[in-house]
């Protein structure tokens, strides 16, 4: 197993390098300009100077190698320095990956955004799973019952109605009409006591609800079909024939076997948490990683887009590996060595 993981990790290095090159080239070829959002009253000469100050006048290869150095050498060194408090080499002269719009280090921006994204998107993922699994299990057990039919209808709705619609409906209901919940997420809010926890829960409610609804819709259908695959197998009939209680048949035997593909699905979905939820974050002004990415794309803030998308790529490669390893752990029939 260890050998397998090591081999996969080594394979990941050229993959990620290739991804980083493709990302960089695509962003470079895309018709965008960091000065494009400036007012028209700012003249072309001034724009040219701004571009120069951002290092855009250098050739593609130079910029790419610089980015590689900044991302793979300077940023990790900076993290090490921050954690240990040691100074390694010339730390003030070392260039970090800087966003063009804010002129601040990209990694600091991402670290600042992570809590919001993990709170909202991460929580909605967990809530989504908690809703989806029981629904999936029960729908499969009572296939074609009214519960199953309603479950199918609700998940079709959840799956096909976009979050920008459900989000707005929630705002109209809870903020505008009922005046119960804030429609704008306060990212500076700190939880210090019960009262502030209540405020936090209130502002989390709508975005988490909207996203969890969407996540649960997908996952519950998946859970249901995995359960159905197993319910008709011989071992289930054997277990029932032996007189095992129905509850144990369902929750111990069938559920455990059905969880194998579902756990893989869940693991593969984890990187999307870090990707944030672009639309939902915009609607509720959560301003997490998704909003950071979309603002960067609109403002042609290439270093920020490049770094964010690359981090997503790393997470996807990593969680693919995690999913494979989990699969092996859950299903003893699978051997990687």
């Amino acid at each position: 197993m260890i050998r397998y993981i090591t081999r996969r990790l080594l394979f990941a290095v050229p993959t990620l390098l290739a991804i980083s090159f493709v990302l960089f080239a695509l962003l470079d070829l895309a018709p965008s300009d960091p000065t494009g959002q400036l007012p028209l009253t700012i003249g072309p000469e001034v724009r040219a100077q701004i571009r120069e100050s951002l290092g855009l006048d250098q050739p593609f290869a130079v910029r790419y190698v610089k980015w590689l150095e900044q991302f793979f050498v300077n940023e990790p060194l900076n993290v090490v320095e921050k954690i240990t408090g040691l100074e390694i080499g010339d730390s003030s002269g070392r260039l970090r990956v800087r966003s063009w719009a804010t002129r601040s280090p990209v990694v600091d921006l991402i670290v600042e955004r992570l809590p919001q994204t993990l709170w909202v998107v991460g929580l909605s993922y967990v809530v989504g799973i908690l809703i989806a699994l029981p629904i999936g299990v029960f729908s499969a057990y009572k296939q074609y019952s009214w519960f199953d039919q309603i479950g199918a209808f609700v998940s079709m709705v959840g799956f096909s109605v976009p979050t920008f619609f459900t989000g707005l409906l929630a705002i109209l209901l809870f903020s505008v009409t009922l005046n119960w919940l804030p429609s704008i997420y306060d990212t500076t809010h700190e939880v210090t006591d019960l009262g502030s926890l209540w405020t936090q829960l209130k502002q989390l409610f709508m975005p988490v609800l909207v996203l969890a609804f969407y996540n649960a819709a997908q996952l519950s259908r998946f859970m249901r079909s995995a359960m159905l695959d197993n319910l008709n197998l011989d071992y289930v009939r054997t277990a029932r024939a032996k007189g095992v209680r129905e509850r144990a048949v369902l929750l111990v035997h069938v559920l455990r076997n059905s969880m194998i593909p579902v756990v893989t699905m869940i693991a593969l979905g984890v990187p999307t948490i870090f990707g944030g939820a672009i639309i939902t974050e915009q609607i509720f002004r959560v301003n997490g990683l998704g909003q950071l990415l979309i603002v960067a794309i609109q403002g042609a803030d290439i270093p920020l887009v490049q770094t964010l998308t690359f981090i997503f790529a790393v997470l996807i490669v990593l969680f693919n590996l995690v999913a494979d390893v989990l699969y092996g752990l859950l299903d003893p029939r699978i051997r990687y060595d």
Binding site: T102, R113, F164, I184
Partner: protein, 587 residues
Amino acid sequence: MDTRNRGGNRRGTAGLPMLAWAVALAACSAEDAGVAPGDAPPAAAPNRHLNILYWQAASTLNPYLSGGTKDIEAASMVVEPLAHYDENGNMVPTLARDIPSVENGGVSADLRSITWTLRQDVNWSDGTPLTAHDVAFSGAYCMHEEAGCNSLTAFADVERIEAQGDHTVRIIFSVPKPFPYGPFVGSTTPVLQKAQFEGCLGVKAQECTEQNFRPIGTGPFKVDEFRANDVISYSANEGYREPGKPWFRTATFKGGGDAASAARAVLETGEFDYAWNLQVEPEVLESMSAGGKGEVLAAYGTLVERLMVNHTNDDPSLGPERRSLYLDGANPHPFLADRAVRRALSMAIDRQVLVDAGYGAGGKPTCNVVPAPPIYASTANDECQTPNVPEANRLLDEAGWMRGEDGVRAKDGVRLSILFQTSTNSVRQGTQALIKQMWGAIGVETELRNIDGGVFFGGDPASPDTFQKFYADIQMYTNNFDGTDPEVYLAGWVCDEAPGPDNQWLGSNVPRACVAEYDALVGELARTAGLDERAAIAKRLNDILVRNQYMIPLIWRARLSARSMSLQGVRINAWDSELWNVADWHR
């Protein structure tokens, strides 16, 4: 996760009409429900926290490195210039004692220098006094050639800036400057603290994150926390020069989302006190403000939505050596070079219809490229306010453009078929469709095209789709000028400024029209000092542009913002930051 939307902003914006629709629905339901009771109990002490919402989040608090209005306005609560423009476009001293002029001796008789005297009672929020050295330093900071300063235009022709003693600063120009109020007037060129920014000159400017995010200022507020592209927390500057101000003790400047929901946060839910730049369908704004929680404010500056008329041949078969290039007049447009056609196109447009459909309270029909300040606004072209289709038809008949079998006019095998482009934006596409219909009535065929704003305004010389390349017959966008003086703006349409490969397609004479009289008048404006004489010349320049239909002005656009009814003291300003008098805001 909604990874389906990860495709980028295009998919995202596709939802906007839906948003608007749902918002309209919301307005109706709020009315039906009789609107929930107000949140603030009347007897309690007034809430001294100010909530401001800009749907574009601020990226930096250093206006010299900003990415647009949002950053400059967020910073204007902290750092201040020597003088502001008030809501009528008049200069009012801020850090200076008075406005220098030739009459009071502040501007030298040869117009080559201006001397500002600073107020002596101003301290930075860290307690140290403001001096003339800070002002001189701020100029040097922006004018450093490696800084990438976006306010450089304001410092055009500045030779040097000298601090004379602690409270006098003299700006010396390399040429006579009839309008010497570029540097340090208005929020785009504030005074930075020398002690804080000393280490940030030139390329270092990019690395001074701490300074750019938390500038020390002289303004009513100071920065407590800055989260780039998200939110800013301010608290009152205790040492602010006017005692008892600002009234608000703390403030939040939240960013993100879209204009419609920003409007809702002020007008419907009342969560925020002020929301900026609400470019939303007029009927949506109207129904939102019907609840009475807030009101929409309009500020008319110099924004004019106009049609640019291409005077050069943009035929795709010409190739890059000729297409849309001026070539000293050797490449005229096949039909737009005919003034009768241009006049007819302008005459056929009913501007009021365009306003009603797309702008509502946020626009007025205009016939000028320079619509304001009042002394610069010409009245010579007002007949364009009323459309005249029969006259337009008569003009075209007279010029020999006859209707063919398909109803489209043609002459000598040239059909009046126009490619009309603009940036992607639902209001602009609506306007395009209406104009197409209006031109149809005079026998002109129109093909519509829209280009993503980032590309259209992006200025990439390699892209065929920028507004400067102008690979179309007519295009529509908005432009304006900073401050109140139109000289630089009007000088953009001289012959030499026609975009082409020699200036990397960055020239500002986008219509590529050229008249000697215009160039001569621009030269005269640059030598004239008196305000009235300057206004007279500016009007004549405006009239040349408009009466020859080099561009066809359509709509004088206002910036729309909203305030909650409880917020008092707002004087919305189109000439400067909307937050210019935030020190006076109260409940």
